[in-house]
């Protein structure tokens, strides 16, 4: 299908069925589906509940046999078998009956887990955990058979030789070696102190001594600071979380784009990225102490402490991504136009004419993505800056409004081609979303406590109303436009085709609407177990998508979103229910 990348954002082309986002029908897709569902069910059933489906003593230590080892063994199995199974294109039937029974098993497992967590005695007949463990095991086996029939599993295992054995050993090794490696960041029965905590402590002292002459340090408790404030470098603050995230990101990145890079040269970037994130963590801790010493303890403790770590990770990940694109010595194919002509590279190698062009066309995103995503990304980036400079109360909220407004102004020449008109369904959908969003609050006599009301009351009237004006303006103008462009304009259509701007808003599929709405719901969660906002956010996404699909106009979705946010703002200001913001 011919696509004109310079076409208006809302094209009217209908895509061929082959361009849609299909349910996986081949072996490889089904194996990935099984892995994804298994991991999701494990997380939803057990993670963050302090509970695990089953334990077994291995080498003298207790492990979660149904969780960690199988999940990581399967990850290795998939990673190494991917290229072999990719060639198998035979259609596989999905076992609906197996899947249905599997859902019943998992429902029972989740019920028992919740009953254990909530202390509901009448459901605690399974004190030993055997019933739960057996149901979880049975449910997982049924899921495996639903995704891939027994003959498919046999074929997958036979075609990869002894990979099943190696991946099983890798799963056990990953779990078993994890314990000694953990000595690096935390005290265990065999090591009384974390090596990384010690290293971080002395590095912070070295950097801090440049700014402050008299530094207090206690290596026994990992405490460091000034005469005014002391901080303790906990295991999590030693930088290990950033190292883990960067290691995961860089490994996945190099694996996914492995055809573009030369190995082992490309692997050199991993230790460079790890070193950078560790140094940035030192800088973060020093800045934290300096801010506290200067009197900004609330800002340092509430906002800067958490956001600075994520900002560091995002910076390193983006720099890594740019480095892999710019460093010619680690690339097999240069993205530059000169390479497409077959000119020799600086190191003497030569690329095939048109090779980079083809690769770029295969992997690259549509240029229209900038107009749809950048306003929303600007809001997220401004939110990080604003939170890092705030305490409990985000007094720099206006930054979010200005960031989105500037981005929308910049991309308006491209966005003005969209149909911004709206009909009656948009506002009606907005009212319905507002009523659904507020429904849990109507069961409470008193509004939930929030520090926002007290913080606003402490401001001068001018400052208070200025803050509220920008908060309402952002909620009613910039946020609806930016979020609708990102979630409905880009994401929902991106699930259908890479050339998303060629997909008409009226031709959104049920799957693309559900997936983009689920992601929209995720964005509105306040914690991992916040099912209420996940559900309400997803429902809101479905309503906004319906408004968009009705006449294929972006204006309807934005109107629905703006009306719901406007009503919410009126509720907050009218009833002082600040927790809704």
């Amino acid at each position: 299908m011919k696509i004109n990348s310079n076409s208006p954002p809302a094209g009217n082309h209908r895509l061929q069925p082959s361009d849609s986002f299909p349910f996986p029908r081949h072996l490889l897709g089904r194996l990935y589906l099984f892995g994804a569902l298994m991991a999701l069910e494990y997380i939803f059933c057990f993670a963050n509940r302090g509970l695990s489906p089953g334990h077994l003593k291995i080498f003298g230590a207790t492990t979660d046999v149904y969780g960690q080892i199988p999940l990581f063994a399967y990850l290795v199995f998939l990673g190494f078998g991917h290229s072999i199974w990719k060639a198998q294109k035979e259609n596989i039937l999905f076992g609906r009956i197996f899947f249905g029974i599997h859902l019943l098993c998992m429902g029972a497992v989740l019920s028992i887990t919740l009953a254990t967590q909530e202390g509901m005695g009448w459901l605690l007949f399974d004190t030993s955990g055997y019933i739960k463990s057996s149901l979880y095991l049975l449910g997982t086996i049924l899921l495996a058979l639903a995704c891939v029939p027994p003959r498919g599993w046999i074929r997958a295992i036979r075609s990869t030789g002894l990979l099943w054995l190696y991946s099983s050993l890798a799963g056990v090794a990953g779990w078993y070696l994890g314990t000694p490696i953990r000595v690096l960041w935390t005290a265990t029965s065999t090591a009384q102190s974390g090596l990384m905590q010690t290293g971080t402590l002395y590095a912070v002292r070295a950097l801090l001594s440049v700014f402050i002459p008299n530094i207090f340090i206690d290596p026994a408790s990992f405490t460091i600071g000034t005469s005014r404030y002391l901080v303790t470098i906990a295991a999590g603050c030693s930088g290990v979380e950033g190292l883990g995230l960067v290691l995961l990101f860089t490994s996945i990145w190099l694996w996914y784009y492995r055809k573009e890079y030369r190995f082992p040269q490309a692997l050199l970037l991993i230790p460079c990225a790890l070193g950078c994130i560790w140094v940035l963590n030192i800088v973060r801790l020093c800045a934290l102490i300096l801010i506290m010493n200067a009197g900004g303890s609330e800002m340092a403790g509430s906002g800067f402490h958490a956001t600075a770590g994520w900002i560091s990770f995002i910076i390193i990940a983006l720099m890594f991504s740019l480095a892999t694109q710019k460093l010619s010595w680690m690339r097999k194919i240069s993205p530059d136009a000169s390479c497409a002509s077959g000119e020799p590279q600086s190191d003497g190698t030569e690329t095939l004419p048109g090779a980079s062009t083809q690769l770029s066309q295969d992997r690259g995103e549509s240029p229209a993505i900038r107009a749809y995503l950048v306003p929303f990304l600007a809001i997220l980036a401004a939110a990080f800056v604003s939170k890092a400079a705030s305490g409990e109360f985000e007094w720099l909220y206006a930054l979010r409004f200005f960031a989105a407004a500037i981005a929308l102004w910049y991309f308006w020449p491209r966005l003005k081609g969209l149909d911004w008109r709206f009909g009656w369904l948009g506002p009606v959908a907005g009212v319905a979303v507002f009523l659904a969003w507020m429904s849990p609050a109507w069961f409470h006599q008193q509004p939930a406590a929030s520090p926002m009301g007290q913080a606003l009351a402490a401001l001068s009237p001018a400052a208070r109303w200025t803050w509220i004006a920008f908060r309402v303006a952002a909620a009613v103008i910039t946020v609806p436009i930016a979020e609708e462009l990102a979630f409905r304009g880009y994401l929902a259509r991106r699930f259908i085709s890479r050339e998303f701007d060629a997909v008409s808003f009226s031709s959104l599929t049920l799957l693309s609407i559900c997936l983009s709405s689920a992601v929209f719901g995720l964005e509105h969660m306040k914690n991992l177990m916040d099912w209420q906002h996940l559900l309400l956010g997803t429902l809101a996404g479905l309503a906004f998508s319906a408004a968009l699909r009705w006449r294929g106009r972006m204006g309807d979705a934005v109107a629905a979103h703006a009306v719901s946010n406007l009503l919410l703002a009126a509720w907050v200001l009218g009833f002082g229910d600040w927790a809704q913001w």
Binding site: S5, N6, N48, Q68, F72, L75, V76, A170, G171, A173, G174, W175, L177, G178, I181, R182, G236, E241, G244, L247, L248, S251, L254, F263, P264, L267, I270, H305, A306, T307, W310, F313, I314, A317, L318, S321, L322, Q325, A337, A340, S360, Q361, R363, G364, E365, S366, P367, I369, R370, L373, F376, L377, L380, A383, A486, L522, E523, M525, K526, N527
Partner: protein
Amino acid sequence: MKSFLKYALGLLVILFTTCATAHALAFSRNPEIDPSLAISALTLLAGSLAVLKIRRNK
């Protein structure tokens, strides 16, 4: 030698990644970690990477 080094380093990365991931659940139980912040950060990163990966030969 080069081929051996490639696979050896690759396996090392997989091993360390597996170990780090194995303890990811323990990290997520850290009360100082704000999940909504994590979702925002990963969204910002994913979106920025998508924008950076646009086609150049447009």
